[in-house]
């Protein structure tokens, strides 16, 4: 690779360099021999991608094939997955793999065959670009784009993820990468870039939804030097991993966005603040920064122009609050990660009290794509107030768990029932939680609302960074509020009183309600406390911390009342409020429950219906799950 690179770089004409990289990248993407890409993002690895990789290595060790690792294509539920490229044919994605299946399939791939077993689909135009018409379609296997999970998606940020080798800069350029940077550096004045981003309507994807271009403009205008550019990759919401997948699957897209942003505001130094719990993302970023520098897309005199920009990586130390901009900047400075008041905006006085632009991973990744497709085309996507797409991690009680990128304005119903494939085991949908721990739970009656920044706020939730947790009828909403509050109590930095003490007290109240010790006036007390925390907290963490309680109170108040007044948990989740017992008529005295009870709480002889000794029962539910005669019930 080194010899290739230096011969390319000897020419100073970057337009030509890009063309040559693109040509080479096409060869990397569609080589003239068998190529197998193992989807090895963190989600893939967790499902066994490494084992798949080593099995492939063993099986194909004497063959002339290319084996490589790529990011995640989104359908995490069905990982491990591989993409199989046979020369001349459209690539096919195989899912739900095991080493045994690999041993069976790999020899067939070598022969140029595409068995239907475990085939998910073949890649279509959204990945193949101009190769769409050249490569032959594989009969008997659906197009990826026609599958329910992918059909309503529109991939802008994730378009390369799971397809290109994340550290192969040739492949990134082959997909149009760095052309936007070239155009910006050669054809745009910084103000024109800002103008385009303002017109595009791009809003911050970290959750706040502040217009990105306006932020850049304020920073460009602010006096003071140096100016800094920061990428916030401290993704910490439970159940959310959009940024991780982007960092692992397409790091150059983020770097390109940051260089464009730096040029627009006049900065020479950037930082990526990424949580240390994402080791693969950190490693990928380090390598990507090095490679981009070697090719002249980062560092001194980028693309031969009189503009230099470097990026450093800062690893977060495990505090959720460091995803808040001012706490994040304090952390980079080496101080305690505590937020400060923001009456002076960070675009005027941010990192080291210098003008600073901070944007989230997804926001940066959108930037080069906006330049590429043009403001007008980008504007066509989304709703009036929220343009473009949003990446969500769709998780919980939904058939297709995974990462989805959808145009703004899609309805929650489409997301959960079309893309997500509905609720498993034909259970009923109960609520969907958006916006991370400080977001809110949205009930069935609002499923037809369009998803965008403003609509979600109207119903008491928020966009957040894009976590979307689906809950079925077996979920207790009071318990859900308790869980999210416990997370926030742990993660409050403890600086201001309402968040530190108030969230803890709110947690204590909800906790006692789930234990059946709720008091008549608890709901009123919670409302009073929640209002104070919301109004009087210092940073956004505290200001939104009562949301889990406020939205569940708004839409599921009857569940709170059932817990408090009747001492009952309607969903049968809160242990202190449920009882297990055996219906005598149904019990065949088979002894299964007695045998499996871990605490010896079941008594009964042969041929005598069994009984649960309530004093001993820990309500683990094992008896219910092992009874074959539906004799054990929960109430």
């Amino acid at each position: 690779m080194n010899t290739e690179k230096s011969s390319v770089l000897e020419k100073k004409d970057f337009k030509k360099i890009l063309e040559e990289l693109k040509l080479e990248g096409k060869k990397h993407l569609f080589p003239d021999k068998l190529k197998i890409s193992v989807q090895s993002a963190t989600c893939g690895k967790a499902s066994g991608a490494d084992e798949i990789y080593s099995t492939l290595e063993n099986t194909l060790k004497d063959e002339d094939v290319i084996l490589e690792r790529v990011g995640c294509i989104g359908l995490c539920q069905q990982e491990p997955m591989v993409n199989v490229y046979v020369p001349g044919w459209k690539p096919v994605v195989y899912a739900n793999l095991t080493p045994k299946i690999i041993e069976e399939l790999a020899p067939q791939w070598l022969e140029g065959k595409f068995p239907e077993k475990n085939a998910l689909g073949q890649l279509g135009p959204s990945y193949l670009d101009d190769m769409e018409g050249i490569l032959k379609p594989v009969s008997g296997i659906k197009r990826i784009e026609d599958l329910g999970f992918f059909k309503k998606q529109l991939k802008i940020v994730l378009r390369n993820s799971g397809f290109i080798n994340p550290l192969d800069i040739y492949e990134y350029v082959a997909r149009g990468g760095f052309y936007s940077l070239y155009r910006v550096l050669h054809e745009y004045e910084p103000d024109q870039v800002i103008d385009d981003i303002i017109k595009s309507g791009l809003r911050g994807r970290g959750g706040g939804g502040f217009p990105t271009g306006v932020k850049w403009q304020s920073c460009r205008k602010a006096p003071g030097f140096p100016k800094y550019v920061i990428c916030n990759a401290d993704e910490g919401d439970p159940g959310a991993y959009m940024d991780r997948a982007t960092l692992e699957g397409d790091p150059f897209g983020i770097l390109e966005g940051m260089v464009i942003g730096a040029y627009a505001i006049g900065s020479n130094q950037g930082y990526i603040y990424v949580r240390a719990e994402y080791p693969l993302a950190v490693q990928t970023l380090h390598k990507a920064i090095k490679i981009a520098g070697e090719f002249g897309f980062l560092g001194k005199n980028i693309m031969g122009k009189d503009f230099s920009f470097d990026i450093k990586i800062n690893r977060g130390g495990g505090a959720f609050v460091c995803g808040e901009s001012t706490a994040l900047m304090a952390s980079i400075e080496g101080k305690v990660g505590e937020p400060r008041v923001k009456h002076i905006h960070t675009v005027v006085s941010g990192l080291r009290e210098k003008p600073t632009v901070l944007n989230n991973v997804e926001t940066w990744a959108n930037v080069p794509r906006i330049i590429e497709m043009g403001v007008e085309n980008y504007n066509k996507i989304g709703t009036k107030g929220s343009k473009g797409t949003k990446v969500f991690s769709l998780v919980g009680n939904v058939n297709n768990n995974g990462l989805v990128e959808v145009p703004m304005g899609i309805t929650l119903r489409e997301m959960i029932f079309n893309i997500g494939g509905g609720i498993p085991e034909n259970k009923k949908f109960k609520a969907v939680q958006t916006g991370g721990p400080s977001g809110g739970c949205i009930p069935e009656s609002l499923l037809d609302m369009p998803v965008d920044f403003d609509e979600l706020i109207k119903v008491g939730s928020m966009m957040g960074s894009g976590g979307m947790i689906v809950m079925d009828e077996d979920t207790c909403m009071v318990d859900v509020a308790r869980y999210f509050l416990s997370f926030l109590v742990e993660e409050s930095c403890g600086k201001c009183t309402p968040c530190r003490e108030g969230t803890y007290q709110l947690y204590k109240i909800v906790d006692r309600i789930t234990r059946g010790e709720g008091r008549e006036d608890d709901i009123e007390l919670m409302e009073e406390l929640a209002e104070t925390i919301k109004d009087a907290s210092l940073c956004a963490l505290g200001k939104t911390a009562p949301n889990p309680v406020l939205t569940t109170l708004r839409y599921f108040k009857d569940e709170y009342i059932a817990h408090i007044k009747e001492k009952k948990c309607p969903a049968g989740v809160c242990k202190e409020l449920i009882t297990y017992f055996i219906i005598e008529d149904k019990c065949t005295a088979c002894g299964m429950c007695k045998k499996n009870c871990p605490v010896g709480a079941i008594e009964g002889e042969k041929k005598v219906p069994h009984k649960i000794i309530q004093e001993k029962c820990t309500k683990c539910g094992i008896c219910l799950s092992v009874c074959k005669f539906d004799a054990v019930v929960k109430k």
Binding site: V341, S492, Y504, Q505, K508
Partner: protein
């Protein structure tokens, strides 16, 4: 200069003056706990919250914010004691009281705002007495330049401690931390030979008066002063009373 309105009174102040300063200039009192004129503003206790309104693009926006940090701007309308402010200040007081139930200043404010002590139970049941206002930490850092203490842990477990909770030799035993503490959470014990701060490990050797044997002060503190203040050695070796005696006899006779 900008014109703002506080509790119905129009006043002109320098732009950037905080709402708290502006209110105090016209004699309107807003309670504070973590605020101190000599220190950087921290805005953590939130007891000084006020209701702010301003017209922006034809729409009136109203919200609650901390007056100790909020900068005055043209057309700002401030209500320091609206129903909402009173209600939320009461809740904040109750939260703080769960931490420091015995604090004099908190109990006085509680009476004024009708705050109760029976609604919330604190995580340490009021044992620490500390409301984490950070006045001690800021004083030690900004005024004494000793940096002995900081906050450790986070959230409800946050504490003021010396690094690693071990005694630090940079402590000069000035006890300014205890002096600024609004709730009396920092206890200083002056023993026969040593001065101890009980909230974190700090135990300092005491210098005794050359003449009468009474304590003069912590040894490191006296040495620190000796370097800073050009006075005769004797001054640093005598207790307060003997020093007075020495001056009256030597200077005025």
């Amino acid at each position: 200069m900008v014109t703002i309105e506080i509790d119905g009174i129009k006043t002109r102040v320098e732009e950037g003056t905080t709402v708290l300063q502006a209110a105090r200039q016209i004699g309107i009192e807003i309670p504070t706990l973590c605020y101190h004129e000599a220190l950087t503003r921290y805005a953590s206790c939130r007891i000084c919250i006020v209701e702010l309104s301003i017209e922006k693009r034809g729409r009136m926006r109203t919200w609650i914010d901390a007056s100790c940090v909020y900068p005055c701007q043209e057309g700002l309308i401030v209500k320091t004691n609206s129903e909402k402010v009173k209600k939320e200040r009461k809740v904040i007081l109750e939260l703080l009281l769960s931490r420091a139930p015995e604090s004099k200043i908190l109990n006085e404010l509680a009476e004024k705002y009708g705050a109760r002590k029976d609604r919330f139970e604190s995580v340490d049941k009021g044992k620490s007495n500390c409301i984490l206002c950070s006045l001690c930490v800021r004083t030690c850092h900004e005024l004494i330049h000793a940096d002995v203490i900081g906050t450790a842990y986070r959230g409800i477990r946050k504490k003021v401690l010396s690094p690693y909770n071990i005694a630090q030799d940079v402590c000069i035993g000035c006890t300014a931390c205890a002096f600024v503490c609004p709730t009396g959470a920092i206890k200083v014990k002056l023993g026969k030979d040593r001065l101890d701060i009980e909230s974190w490990p700090a135990s300092l050797e005491i210098v005794k008066c050359k003449k009468c044997g009474k304590p003069v002060g912590p040894k490191v503190y006296i040495e620190h002063l000796r370097k800073e203040v050009p006075l005769s050695d004797e001054v640093f070796e005598l207790c307060y009373e003997c020093r007075r005696k020495m001056y009256t006899t030597t200077t005025w006779k």
